[in-house]
């Protein structure tokens, strides 16, 4: 008998990652709380959630750097506790914080990586050139990493993670703290990569636009638990309709009577509605809404999904805390 929800059940032979009841506790704090999911080979899988939701802790356990408190996880058929060496051979990782040596050149950083992964000596230089080309860094190859910008350094670390052609590639907040333009570039690299190889990519982020654009499936994580897991399209579809936000003196009870209004609630003094076919029904809606000062209509995004699941907005929380993180890191 198989015990798992429908959305988590796949043909076992295709699952490159299988997680069951994975838990990590730090003293009294439960960072990851009994999560289970599987990832298919070749998938781009996103872990989406605010800072502190347990995304990084999950990646650390999958990459053998942290020992789970309980539960099991398998990567490429190997157990992350009992077969650490084999797991580490199959994976590549880009850490949230920069982890290249700034006193060495980009080339030296890559060379060290190649040696530590036991790549054949005569292939090393050609492989380095190949990955540097992928992230567009050939020209800065022999510069000391200290002279790189934040975005270049991240790209170098992506190249480094790819050097040994891992089967599973983990990226922990690959665009955190980067400007929007660099962020776009990095996503482009990741997308190209997914197209060119059949690599499985696991990415954590709290930028919803990115998760939406890039991922085949997304697990929304909050307080160490999976709140929802599906394709971005299905997650949004589950909300049932467009989002209409009304400000002013709104008669919310009158609005609730319309059959096309699926949901109505007050958030921060504004009335948030889920409306089927808003374009068609808006006029009728506004006639009965009372004294309207401002109307916003948009198709739902993942932030709405998160809001609906947790009752909190992720965007502000995520950016505020990453802002604080950036400040503390800078000092």
């Amino acid at each position: 008998m198989v015990l798992c929800p429908d959305s988590l059940c796949y043909n076992a032979s295709m699952d490159i990652i299988r997680i069951e009841n994975l838990t990590k506790k730090y003293g009294g704090l439960t960072a990851v709380d009994g999560i289970s999911f599987s990832v298919k080979e070749g998938e781009i899988f996103g872990l989406l959630g605010p800072n502190g939701a347990g995304k990084t802790t999950t990646l650390m356990m999958l990459s053998t750097l942290l020992k789970p408190t309980s539960g099991t996880a398998g990567v490429d058929g190997y157990d992350v506790v009992k077969q650490q060496g084999l797991v580490r051979n199959s994976i590549g990782m880009v850490f949230q914080d920069p982890s290249s040596d700034t006193l060495l050149s980009g080339y030296e950083n890559l060379k060290l990586h190649a040696l530590m992964y036991n790549l054949p000596l005569r292939e090393i230089d050609s492989r380095i050139d190949k990955v540097l080309e992928l992230v567009d860094l050939q020209k800065r190859k022999h510069d000391v990493v200290k002279k790189y910008s934040g975005g270049m350094r991240r790209r170098l670390e992506i190249a480094r993670g790819l050097l040994h052609a891992p089967k599973v590639f983990f990226l922990d907040e690959p665009t955190l703290g980067l400007d929007p333009q660099t962020r776009d570039h990095i996503w482009e690299y990741i997308q190209n990569l997914a197209k060119q190889t059949r690599m499985t990519i696991i990415v954590t982020t709290h930028y919803m636009e990115e998760a939406e654009k890039l991922c085949d499936r997304i697990a929304i994580i909050d307080h160490g638990k999976i709140a929802a897991l599906d394709s971005p399209m299905n997650l949004k579809r589950a909300l049932g309709g467009d989002k209409v936000i009304l400000k002013g003196r709104i008669e919310i009870e009158a609005l609730r009577k319309f059959p096309f209004v699926k949901k109505a609630e007050v958030i921060d003094g504004a009335v948030h509605l889920s409306v089927e076919q808003a374009g068609k029904n808006l006029q009728e809606l506004l006639c009965s809404a009372g004294d309207v000062e401002n109307v916003e209509v948009h198709s739902p995004d993942l932030n709405d999904v998160f809001l609906n699941l947790t009752g909190r907005a992720m965007r502000e929380e995520g950016e505020a805390s990453s802002y604080i993180q950036d400040i503390t890191r800078a000092t």
């Binding site: 650390m60 990459s63 053998t64 750097l65 942290l66 020992k67 060496g85 580490r88 051979n89 994976i91 990782m93 850490f95 914080d97 920069p98 982890s99 290249s100 040596d101 700034t102 006193l103 060495l104 030296e108 060379k111 060290l112 990586h113 040696l115 530590m116 992964y117 036991n118 000596l121 000391v144 480094r160």
Partner: protein
């Protein structure tokens, strides 16, 4: 099959060694201060304390020279080892720990890197002693001194790596000099003879592994020592073996 496995280990060791060595040579200030500091101490101590000896300062300077060779190992070796806590901070350690290399390989690779730093400095100082300070070396005594420094550096660097692997953040780095480096140096008999000490200090000096290194170097360079050379060497080698065991254990339990 064995060939493949050892190729993997050798490449890993080379990579770790290369990184340590490269970082060392790029940080010019570290290289300069690590050679300048012992020389500075040597002249202050040698002339200051030596002046009590009525015009025979040179004898005292020669007497403390072996101690200052050991000092370079204590200072740079231990600091280089404990430098791993900085790798934790800059997250370079994660990159190393996530590779398929075993923790034992990581430990020995790091140790070899720091070893190179420490030995280059102490050998350099040995050379200065021969050229400018009037220390008389023969080829065998120079080679024998180098061997003793090598054996001593092994244990000290392992000790540094062990301390560093237990430290959570580089903020505690400064405490190492107060509670490990200075006691090791000052109790080693580097700047005073071991023979006429009060009982309690006698005991403390005998606990300090550096004492045996200084004593052995004194035997080789000056031809006089407080303990038999074979005892010195035995203690140093035992200390190395013990530290290597503790070190590989410490690295296996190392978490981020």
């Amino acid at each position: 099959m064995i060939g493949k496995r050892s190729a993997k280990v050798i490449k890993g060791l080379y990579a770790l060694w290369y990184r340590e060595f490269r970082v060392f040579t790029r940080e010019k200030s570290r290289v300069i201060s690590s050679v300048a500091l012992p020389l500075f101490w040597y002249f202050i101590f040698g002339n200051g304390v030596g002046s009590m000896n009525k015009g025979n300062a040179l004898d005292y300077q020669h007497f403390i020279f072996p101690g200052f060779l050991a000092m370079t190992i204590i200072f740079t070796g231990l600091f280089a080892g404990a430098y791993i806590v900085w790798d934790k901070k800059i997250d370079f350690l994660k990159e190393v720990l996530i590779t398929p290399l075993s923790r034992t390989t990581v430990f020995f690779g790091k140790a070899m890197g720091s070893m190179t730093d420490a030995l280059i400095q102490s050998y350099f100082l040995l050379f200065i002693g021969y050229l400018f300070l009037g220390i008389k070396f023969s080829i065998p005594s120079a080679l024998f001194s180098m061997a003793i420094l090598f054996i001593f550096a092994n244990g000290l660097i392992s000790l540094g790596l062990i301390i560093g692997s237990f430290m959570e953040s580089p903020e505690g780095y400064g405490l190492i000099s107060s509670f490990v480096i200075y006691p090791l140096f000052l109790l080693s008999g580097a700047v005073y003879p071991l023979d006429n000490l009060p009982g309690w200090m006698q005991i403390l000096t005998r606990i300090d592994p550096a004492t045996y290194a200084v004593d052995a170097l004194r035997f080789v360079i000056l031809g006089s020592s407080s303990m038999p050379i074979l005892l010195d060497l035995a203690v140093l080698i035992l200390f190395d073996i013990l530290m290597a065991f503790v070190g590989t254990w410490a690295f296996k339990r190392l978490r981020l």
